[in-house]
């Protein structure tokens, strides 16, 4: 006995399945114009800053920290900060462009990243007080971990609402 309403040849069900399928495909493939505009703007902000960061970091490869710290040496050592400040400005612009949900997710992810950074910095401070490890290397690890916590939490929150 065939179950009523569940037949493969039911045109209403087939039409509904095709309609839902088409809707779901078009929903995942298409982006709204604000999505496209914000993606383009994010790349316009980030691409030059990343290029500058790579160049300034690369130029530090030959930097000798033992040489006298004249003004040019200090400027050279701090040159990556320009690119980082650019990235921060880009992030602020992205927050202003974002809609209400994206802004909420960005701020939640930033607070998670900041919390991770604070906890790890306290850990590094304690290690430094106990004279364990190299402070410069640990600071780099803390920075990377904070950024990782921010980006990964944003990715998780964003994936949930896709």
């Amino acid at each position: 006995m065939a179950a009523r309403g569940s037949g493969d040849n039911d045109p209403d069900i087939m039409t509904r399945v095709l309609y839902v399928g088409r809707m779901s495909i078009s929903q995942t493939e298409h982006k709204s114009s604000s999505d496209v505009a914000s993606e383009h703007a994010a790349w316009r902000d980030a691409a030059p800053a990343i290029a500058l960061l790579v160049i300034t970091q690369g130029s530090l490869i030959g930097f000798d920290p033992r040489r006298p710290s004249d003004l040019a040496g200090v400027a050279w050592a701090l040159s990556p900060l320009v690119a980082i400040a650019w990235l921060v400005c880009g992030q602020i612009r992205a927050l202003r462009r974002a809609d209400e949900l994206q802004r909420l997710q960005q701020l939640q992810a930033l607070s998670i990243g900041f919390a991770a950074l604070v906890v790890l910095l306290i850990g590094v401070g304690l290690l430094h007080a106990a004279e364990i490890g190299d402070l410069a290397q640990q600071t780099q690890v803390v920075l990377m971990s904070g950024i990782f916590a921010w980006v990964s939490s944003l990715a998780v929150m964003s994936a949930r609402s896709r």
Partner: protein, 75 residues
């Protein structure tokens, strides 16, 4: 909070991206509202109501109303 956005959008044959364009938000936001994972701000709720030509309270159903409707005996 439940809402009738998916139903109203489907009636107009709009995709989520179409609705997002009309509201000037991301498609992700439209999806999150439709699935009840995110409750929109009051300005966005007013925008939605104006777009669909309906009132906010007919678009969005508070959780306690859902519970009351479930427990209310049918006539």
């Amino acid at each position: 909070m439940k809402n009738r956005l998916r139903e109203l959008r489907a009636a107009r044959d709009w995709t989520q991206a179409d609705l997002a364009d009309r509201l000037d938000v991301s498609r992700q936001t439209v999806n999150a509202i439709e699935t009840g994972r995110y409750d929109p701000s009051l300005p966005l709720a007013f925008k939605l109501a104006a777009l669909f030509g309906d009132s906010i309270e007919s678009l969005f159903l508070p959780a306690h109303d859902e519970a009351q409707q479930r427990t209310r005996p049918s006539p």
